[in-house]
């Protein structure tokens, strides 16, 4: 198994510390290697908490999370950075504004890596960005370009898992379609597995092999696209699919 999550529970305390909010309640699922996982759910359903836990940006209260059969907290820092990489929702905040894009990208590679430029060029080609951008600063790119650069930066580590927290959320339709194409290319490449959050169920259907639907910290449905489309017994899943159908109409 690539990712194995068992009985994962995460609670947040309010600022006063008196009220506890359950972000994830006894969540369990597994995903095999070379499968793309799409996570869907409304705001506050626990999607971001889940991917932040998978990226070790957040601790959890109970349960276990394993990647390639190993507890995520047993990975060394460098080893984990080669295993999991994450891209964020806001492409404007993903790059240090004071550093050139070239510097930010090269930082992802080891210090003594000899063919840095070649590796960077390969990844830039994968995300469809010209190579003459290395001396530019992040503010000189559009949101869509920055998101593509963020993907290139993450892929430079050749991670087993690329986690994307709502990568389409703040992008225009054209940029969304470019990012979707990039994800499909990464999927075909079969080197990196993708876990991504989206509100857009049609993107999830387009890219994912499996879909995890969350609501109020619980798993509503987890399965392949066919499982989700054919099982119309769950009201919430029906609502999501119908809402998407109406939008497409």
């Amino acid at each position: 198994m690539l990712i194995s999550v068992k009985n994962l529970t995460k609670n947040y305390k309010t600022e006063s510390g008196k009220v506890t909010v359950g972000a994830l309640k006894d969540v369990s699922f597994e995903i095999e290697k070379r499968k793309v996982l799409g996570i869907i759910g409304e705001s506050g359903s626990g999607k971001s908490t889940l991917v932040r836990i998978l990226s070790r940006l957040e601790n959890f209260d109970s349960g276990s999370v394993e990647i390639n059969g190993k507890d995520i907290y047993c990975f060394g820092k460098k080893e984990f950075s080669r295993t999991v990489q994450m891209i964020f929702q806001n492409p404007y905040a993903s790059f240090n504004p004071k550093l050139t894009v070239g510097y930010s990208l090269s930082e992802a590679l080891e210090k003594n890596c000899k063919n840095k430029k070649e590796l960077i060029m390969n990844k830039l080609a994968l995300v469809g960005i010209d190579e003459d951008i290395l001396d530019k600063y992040p503010h000189q790119f559009s949101g869509g370009q920055r998101q593509r650069l963020a993907i290139a930066r993450a892929l430079l580590k050749e991670p087993d898992i690329l986690i994307a927290d709502e990568p389409f959320a703040s992008l225009d339709a054209v940029s969304q379609s470019i990012i979707t194409d990039i994800f499909i290319r990464i999927k075909k490449d079969k080197k990196t597995n993708i876990v991504f959050i989206t509100h857009d169920i049609s993107s999830a259907f387009e890219i994912s092999d499996k879909i995890l639907i969350l609501k109020n910290g619980n798993i509503v449905k987890y399965g392949t696209i066919d499982d989700i489309k054919n099982d119309r017994t769950n009201d919430y899943v029906n609502e999501l699919i119908e809402a998407d159908y109406l939008l497409e109409q």
């Binding site: 990226s55 820092k77 950075s81 080669r82 994450m86 964020f88 930010s104 600063y137 963020a150 930066r153």
Partner: protein
Amino acid sequence: MRYFIKRIISSIPILLGITLLTFAVMHITPGKPTDIMTDMNMKVSAQAKDRLQKLYGLDKPLHIQYAQWLKRFVFFDFGTSFKDSRPARDKIFERLPATILLNFAALFFTCIVAVPIGIYCAVKKDTFIDKGLTVILFVCFSIPSFWLALMFMILFGLQLGLVPISGLYSFNFDDMNIFMQIADISKHLVLPVAVSVIVSLATLSRYARSGMLEVLKQDYIKTAYAKGLSQKQVIFRHALKNTLLPMITIIGLSIPALIGGSFIFETIFSYPGIGRLGYEAVMSRDYPVVMGIATLSAVLTLLGNIIADLSYKIADPRIKYR
């Protein structure tokens, strides 16, 4: 370049406003410069007093006096001191090096102590160390500087005899070689610089802390950790420069204080700087010297703002001035 020329031109009315206000306040204040020379002397007649007023041009209406002052100011002439008839400009400029030395030393040490404290507190947010340092800094901030100066003078100067308590030079300064002279000046600077650093630590370190906390929340910091960089690399390479940017304004705005001097410190430590000169000038209603110092401070405040803007451009490639 055009932006800075525009900024300099737009600063002129502000500068005139400040000089007008200072001039008005000085003249509204009870007591005249000639009072010191005449009131204590029973032999001075009313006519002699009038003649003295006329001599200094104080008999003319205020707007004429201000216009005359402005005319001289254009040629960088602040007038003649009422106290000893020396040019006010010379009096100010001969005190300037001592004030610059004291305040630059104070700012330098404040920065090298406060910024690391602020950054350390941010990195160790909500720990015992963070909370402990916060309490200590607020205590430092709350202590009246004059009281702390007096306590330090008593403890380190009088009781322990470690450092001199006043002035900038020892009485035998001229007989010393260059190294001893440097050591002598340094020893005299210890107390005023220490007091200045202690009372200003809190402000700068809190700015550094809150700035760092803000930066540490950013996605590019999480990305930097995800790249496998160590905490040290993330803090120094990614967070520090972004944290220091807002502090440029604070440091830029402290430039006038560097030159304008501190009335309290310099008076308590009998330090031969602009601050003490200003205090003495205010007490003796020496209008030309007071106006000279006020104008110099105003020019430097405006200049400090412009320098801060310029520094922003250097520190942040996103900033473009039009």
